[in-house]
Point group: C2
Chain length 432, copies 2
């Protein structure tokens, strides 16, 4: 089928496992069934009217099991183009169209999405993005450093403030709430933001350094804007958000709301219910990559390949690519021969990748190599568990970053008058 030039299409790629299915027939069934419903039985005159609504099979790549490997399975990667005209320009409509009913149809995983230029044009994307976040912090020449509160539940305001202050003293650029800290009588958001921002100012007088504090945005969906405003009015200069608990559209609306004018940090909470199975769900590069960026996340946390919560390296790199790339090839589907975007670039700011879990200073060279330096190094235990305390933990990371930027091997840099880094290496080693 050739593509009607008059329509724009979003393209979903599925990986389907089946021992004997006719994958080409299955692809046609998807393209028709999830759009116009029926096709071959339509009268010709009706076909002419309906053609612009008809889904198209872009490609079907069948992978037969390898003869030598009894464990290898038969699967196909199927790409289907869905006309924009069929759905409104929001992520729920797109996801329900391309994977609503289909998600329940056997072993099928949504492994990629590409957007039409017109669909994409409805999304402003990250308001700050990497450049905007760097500008707020005044840091342009090095990777950023973030730390996470150690424990928060059951702690009172003075305790949180002290934890915050110690982290800030270590020279971190960002501090985020724990994602399981909700509205509670001990540390209500406006009080903890007020106190922590005071601690940030106090630390800045010591360190000369700005800091973003991402307060956890929680509570009823329809009250999220009010809750965000409450935090921002109290001084929050960033917000953390459990995107998947609320849906991508809530993030998308927050990111374009005039009153929510601070960077939004997306937490991957619940993502493990969706991406790890090879047979079901939504791949990490779509879930934590393309859709987070499309929905306007300025920073995106995801499981690092280094630590306790692991994700295979290639999935990590695919997320990174989705958050950073300016190449239109993976993002924009332009149909047969049509030009991609006017300026040939993805029209969305880049989101900061924040690989998380199990990060210690000895991993910094590896992280910077994997992420080409455009990354937020994010540590919890690697800061708080430092033998000389949390402030020293932050300094150890900053020293590791400085050493890497100067091209000096970590061990040498530590030995050269950087005892915090040395202590971190003694505790956790170096992995290159």
């Amino acid at each position: 089928m050739s593509l009607a030039i008059s329509s724009a299409y979003c393209v979903a790629t599925y990986r389907c496992y089946d021992e004997k299915a006719d994958f080409h027939k299955k692809a046609t069934g998807i393209a028709v069934g999830l759009t116009v419903g029926s096709w071959t039985e339509l009268p010709e005159a009706r076909k002419a009217e309906m053609e612009k609504h008809l889904g198209r099979v872009v490609s079907v790549d069948v992978h037969e099991p390898s003869a030598g490997d009894p464990a290898s399975a038969r699967y196909a990667d199927i790409r289907i183009a869905y006309p924009d005209i069929n759905f409104s320009r929001d992520i729920p409509a797109l996801l329900v169209t391309v994977f609503g009913k289909l998600s329940m149809d056997g072993r099928i995983k949504l492994i990629d999405l590409a957007f039409s230029e017109s669909f994409l044009s409805a999304f402003p994307g990250p308001r700050f993005g990497i450049e905007g976040v760097r500008k707020l912090l005044g840091v342009h020449d090095r990777p950023l450093l973030m730390s996470i509160f150690k424990s928060v539940i059951g702690h009172d305001l003075p305790s949180l403030r002290e934890q915050f202050y110690q982290q800030a003293l270590g020279g971190v650029d960002l501090i985020k709430d724990d994602e399981i800290l909700f509205e509670n009588p001990l540390t209500p958001i406006e009080k903890r933001v007020e106190l922590c921002m005071q601690a940030a100012a106090e630390a800045e007088r010591e360190t000369g350094q700005k800091l973003l504090y991402a307060a956890n945005l929680t509570g009823p969906t329809f009250g999220l804007v009010e809750q965000a405003k409450k935090a921002i009015n109290a001084g929050a200069n960033a917000l953390l958000f459990n995107v998947l608990a609320y849906g991508f559209d809530a993030l998308s609306e927050l990111s374009r709301h005039p009153d929510v004018n601070v960077p939004l940090m997306a937490h991957p909470s619940l993502a493990g219910a969706l991406y790890p199975s090879p047979y079901h769900g939504i791949a990490a590069n779509v879930l934590l990559g393309k859709l987070m960026r499309l929905a306007g996340a300025d920073l995106v946390l995801f499981p690092s390949p280094y630590g306790s919560v692991v994700m295979p390296k290639e999935e990590n790199m695919a997320i990174k690519e989705a958050l950073l790339t300016t190449e239109t090839a993976d993002y924009i589907y332009s149909g047969d021969g049509a030009t991609a975007s006017a300026n040939g670039q993805v029209p969305l700011a880049a989101s900061f990748p924040v690989p998380s879990a199990g990060i210690h200073p000895g991993l910094v060279p590896l992280i910077l190599r994997d992420f080409n330096g455009e990354v937020v190094i994010n540590a919890g235990g690697g800061v708080h568990g430092h033998p000389m305390g949390a402030a020293a933990g932050g300094r150890a990371f900053r020293q590791a970053i400085d050493g890497c930027q100067a091209g000096i091997p970590l061990q040498d840099y530590a030995a050269d008058g950087h005892p915090e880094l040395q202590a971190a290496i003694d505790s956790w080693g170096i992995k290159e």
Copy 2:
């Protein structure tokens, strides 16, 4: 660890697969890690303060692989009690607490949830429920019948109206929009609701029967209430909602909003990204059962075990149980010896189970047996594909229901002057 009487707990049950893990240690790690963060190293005085925030291991059932079956795997069902005091009384907070980060921690699936009485008390549950829906329709003595539009995309208003009218003529109780019908210039919601409700009134003059039309509630999250009001003002007397594309909290808030005073029908769109894997995700009884009912769905669609989109029968029955049960044992966690609920019943109205996909009249006896008659029989192709047309398709289902209610074998009832049922049986057979 004994439970502190002063706290109330919600309990999550996980199935974890691991060839050699110490599951008891893992359970303690979850109970501590997802609540207070650390425990053994706390000073005793601090422990006394923190105890009410500490998660508890309720049980760990380890299943060793069976010696005779090399394919059997080692797993454990782990139950953890989380103090209510740690999270706000909304579903995002509960899910982020019990399965936010944990979802990404290896092979682990959330297979059950039980709520504390106090958590549950924050949820009014379904506003109408089974009784309320029956009352609106004036039907108390038989299962309900629903039909779905055949195809809607690219159709204009007169075409939709005609489809609606034919379905209504067949004596169906409910008609739902296709879940992939979004706001569009051809059939905007207020226009199609107005016309379809006129068609409903017209059909009622023929059939003497009331009908609920569930219009698809779509669009921006923060505009859902306004969109619902638009549909209701145009005459919609029910709404369809793609819950998982927006998160459970959106449904929960809609269900308790004073202006959204019509039954809410939950569509399982995207659910297949979450429930089918044995190793990851959220089990169907939680996802499409307990949480939908908690969030206030009056009717819940889910894949039937009969048709093309299949779900194993026991998962179906677990969803049914979660939607219907009045037994507190599965729902309410009361800790050590405390009484469950005051009146000993789940304090939520029951949600109508709507097993969907592949339903034809010959399946009615089986469905009524499986669901004890408290069910909405929902058909698409089984109505529209009837050889005598959609109105006859509806009538065939109603005849099948009547026959079953009268205790007459379907074939005999068809032969006794019910040609529509006979034609359906000739097309699709009987499965008992």
